[in-house]
């Protein structure tokens, strides 16, 4: 770092759930994402800083952190868009256990994805053919709108309901369940509604829309969850959820 370089202050969370913010001075760059800032600190200022990343272009969803109070994908967040009063505050994602510094344990997130039956179950269709699926059909269109999730955990961290009750399945898992339910190839669509109608499932959502507000790839889990609420209610009234 030369003395002529312009720098800005970055406060980074250190420790696990119990910890504190540690200030660093980081040089400004013309092109600089929040992940670049964190990398700079690890490479040049504090080699022990822990953080997680992989693909670096918004594909893997590994590097989400809380930046100035908001959960974000850091690899695709340009510093100039989020810096406030010449300062950045970076913390791990909320609503997940902290392993160390900026790294969270995403296990509960993936367990809930499983519990919401966020996966395909093969149907009876012929295995050596590809099912015709019209891209404009209502179900496929609904599924397509929800499918491009990168499971970064940003919505889960932004979700107020998860922050109030940690057994709620959360937006990402339910969003996946909605896409699965709209998949006409699925062999057990009622099973999805059963999974999401447990006490901690879709009906727990209060439609705050924090998930949709923060999703880096512009999905709308609230909408998906509303769909599940309607579908499972219908199924319940028809007595299919026993």
């Amino acid at each position: 770092m030369t003395s002529q370089e312009r720098t800005f202050q970055v406060d980074i969370w250190r420790g696990d759930e119990n910890g504190e913010y540690q200030p660093f001075e980081v040089p400004e760059r013309e092109n600089q994402t929040v992940l670049d800032v964190v990398t700079y600190i690890q490479r040049h200022l504090d080699p022990a800083l822990a953080y997680r990343f992989a693909c670096r272009v918004g594909v893997c969803g590994s590097c989400a952190m809380t930046v100035n109070g908001r959960p974000r994908w850091t690899c695709r967040t340009h510093v100039s868009r989020v810096v406030k009063n010449g300062k950045l505050t970076i913390a791990p994602l909320t609503n997940l256990p902290v392993i160390r510094d900026l790294v969270t344990d995403m296990t509960p997130f993936f367990e809930k994805w499983r519990d919401a039956r966020g996966r395909f179950v093969a149907g009876d269709g012929p295995k050596n053919e590809l099912a015709p699926v019209e891209p404009e059909s209502n179900e496929r269109a609904a599924a397509s709108e929800a499918i491009e999730c990168i499971n970064c955990g940003v919505c889960y961290s932004a979700c107020d309901v998860v922050s109030w009750r940690d057994d709620y399945l959360g937006p990402a898992a339910l969003n996946r369940a909605w896409a699965a339910w709209n998949d006409v190839r699925d062999g057990d669509r009622t099973g999805i509604l059963k999974a999401v109608s447990q006490g901690t499932g879709c009906h727990t959502c209060h439609t705050h829309q924090s998930c949709a507000e923060h999703c880096p790839v512009a999905l709308n889990p609230t909408f998906s969850i509303a769909g599940l609420k309607r579908a499972s209610l219908k199924a319940k009234l028809k007595g299919q959820l026993r």
Partner: protein, 588 residues
């Protein structure tokens, strides 16, 4: 501290190869205890996930696996292991049905509901199955959620550092890993082991693979005495983003379709230059465009950032913004206006065709060790077709899973590890904690420049000899470099040290193999040997480690077991696409 555990099947890596292997093995025998160990989180690290283009598979009645095979062989400049390529094109058909019908992948459809297959460079038929331009995410997410739902052990943030053989060296007993979260060591003993950690030429200044890639798998293979092949074959993609110093985004891909649809490449004087090199201009093949860009920069006509501009604005910024939404957004996120302005790009290292030599059943020469995906070599030869990469990892991952389960059913048991190897390897990994703090950043910078300048897109004897000499010196510098912080838990700087160790060794392999191949074909270009040479006598290079640290190169003739140069499986055609400039095509 060393924790030990036992499992039936250990899988290193959770890309297309690792996940398919786990699911296949579990399906073959649900009673098996299967463990996936991965450097990051299951399904979230590695490169399959990053696949944009799609999945090559011959499904159309006007297409055929023979045609797919011929495209692969001709595209690979007759260097591929033909039995492997044959396994690839056949297996792809099976896999795409499984991905759709068993795991629920959403692949794009035509309006009538049938599967959409798009055109992709180097193919004589439009056979690339895709999900928009995020095909990898779709495949990996669907596979991951199947794995999450099954009784499959996950060792996440566990980095494999060494294969541990039996005392007599006849087979593999297990793998030594670092539990990255705790900073402790773990030895996992397994009856069969799959290496599916992926490759990734991240030792080049500009590279596309996931940032966690560091060629650990090939390094472990070399150390365990396995033979690698085709290591000189590193594929470059012409348009990687140039975002400046200290940016992770630098090197990541701007898709091929930008040039295909009429984008311009401009030098620092904002003049088009591609027609000075090739009559197809910007639409020439990847290798030609990459080479031309490098020559233009070397001639002093680069941009201020040392690259080339890509310009789309003349096609109408609004149209571009709509047609290439993802790319425009990606550029905007790092501060560039792709739709209306000029964006600096440079060719970027993309894929390693070379890797551990293996057989169509994924076995290696080490009993009990299997390999699949980018760690393996020989499927693609001198060049990999876009869309054959994800096919490779998923096809062979499944093959390996089945073979590993069968081996255990047939009586394969645990083998006793050579404890001295474990001790030695733990010592190797902990060495930097004892040294005086070294400048790892400087070593990394030196490495990426060295490989870029001297073993990159244009090579020659003197460059490569320099490169090897300097790599040796760099290796020595790295070996004594210590760490400033003694924390072992989640110490990324420790892992940077380990990454560099792997990268330097594999860099040496690339440079040695490149020096050994005295012709130019596919991804490998020697300015001092610009001719392709005789196809009938094609040989592939091999490299192995002997006496612990000496790389020995060799070569073997390619066996034309299925088709010979000059022949074709398709009547009246060579199988490769006609040599004309591709028409402008829309991004899919």
């Amino acid at each position: 501290m060393l924790e030990t555990m036992r499992t039936d099947i250990l899988i290193i890596g959770s890309g297309g190869a690792g996940l398919f292997a786990a699911l296949y093995a579990k399906k073959a025998n649900p009673d098996l205890d299967i463990t996936i160990a991965v450097k990051g989180l299951v399904g979230k690290s590695g490169c399959t996930r990053m696949v944009q283009g799609g999945y090559n598979v011959a499904l159309n009645s006007d297409d055929s696996i023979e045609r797919h095979f011929m495209d692969t062989i001709v595209g690979g400049k007759w260097l591929p292991h033909q039995d492997l390529a044959w396994a690839l094109v056949n297996g792809a058909v099976k896999r795409i049905h499984e991905l759709e019908n068993e795991y629920g992948c959403f692949f794009d459809r035509n309006a009538d509901g049938s599967l959409h297959q798009k055109a992709f460079a180097g193919q004589s038929f439009d056979r690339t199955v895709h999900k928009g331009d995020l095909t990898g995410i779709e495949i990996i997410n669907r596979l991951s959620e199947q794995v999450w739902a099954q009784d499959i052990n996950r060792l996440e943030e566990h980095r494999a550092v060494a294969f541990v053989p039996t005392k007599d060296g006849s087979g593999i007993a297990g793998v030594l890993l670092i539990n990255m979260r705790a900073g402790s060591f773990r030895f996992v003993q397994a009856k069969t082991i799959l290496l599916g950690a992926g490759g990734g030429p991240t030792m080049y200044r500009y590279h596309t693979p996931s940032g966690d890639k560091s060629c650990d798998g090939m390094t472990m293979g070399l150390r365990a005495g396995l033979k690698l092949r085709d290591m000189e074959m590193v594929q470059f993609h012409p348009t990687g983003i140039l975002a400046g110093n200290d940016t992770r985004m630098t090197g990541t891909i701007l898709e091929e379709g930008l040039r295909g649809s009429g984008g311009y490449l401009l030098n620092g004087e904002r003049e088009r230059f591609m027609f000075n090199y090739h009559s197809h201009g910007e639409r020439a093949t990847r290798d030609i465009v990459s080479r031309s860009m490098i020559e233009e920069v070397r001639a002093g006509r680069g941009t201020p950032g040392g690259g080339i501009y890509i310009r789309m604005a003349h096609l109408g910024p609004e149209k571009v913004a709509k047609q290439f939404k993802g790319m425009v957004k990606r550029c905007a996120d790092c501060g560039f206006d792709l739709a209306g302005g000029d964006v600096e790009v440079l060719p970027t290292a993309h894929y390693m065709m070379g890797g551990i030599a293996f057989e169509p059943d994924c076995k290696t020469t080490l009993e009990g060790l299997y390999v699949a995906g980018e760690d393996s070599g020989g499927v693609h030869g001198a060049n990999r077709l876009g869309g054959n990469g994800v096919a490779n990892s998923t096809v062979f991952g499944g093959v390996a899973g089945e073979a590993m389960a069968k081996a255990i059913t047939d009586g394969t048991d645990w083998r006793e590890p050579d404890a001295s190897v474990i001790e030695h390897e733990v010592g190797r990994c902990l060495k930097p904690f004892t040294g005086k703090p070294g400048d790892l950043n400087a070593i990394r910078e030196t490495l990426v420049d060295l490989m870029w300048d001297k073993a990159g897109i244009i090579r020659d004897k003197s460059l490569l000899e320099d490169c090897i000499r300097e790599l040796d010196a760099l290796g020595e510098e790295h070996a004594v470099a210590g760490l400033a912080d003694s924390t072992r838990a989640f110490n990324l700087t420790w892992h940077d040290w380990l990454n560099l160790e792997s990268q330097i060794l594999v860099s040496k392999s690339i440079a040695h193999a490149a020096l050994a191949r005295e012709d130019s074909r596919g991804a490998h270009y020697r300015a001092d040997f610009p001719e392709t040479g005789d196809l009938e006598t094609t040989r592939y290079t091999t490299i192995e480690l002997s006496d612990g640290d000496k790389l020995v190169t060799g070569s073997e003739p390619v066996e034309f077991t299925i088709v010979k140069p000059g022949e074709s499986l398709i009547e009246g055609e060579a199988g490769a696409p006609p040599e004309i400039a591709p028409p402008p095509q829309a991004a899919e």
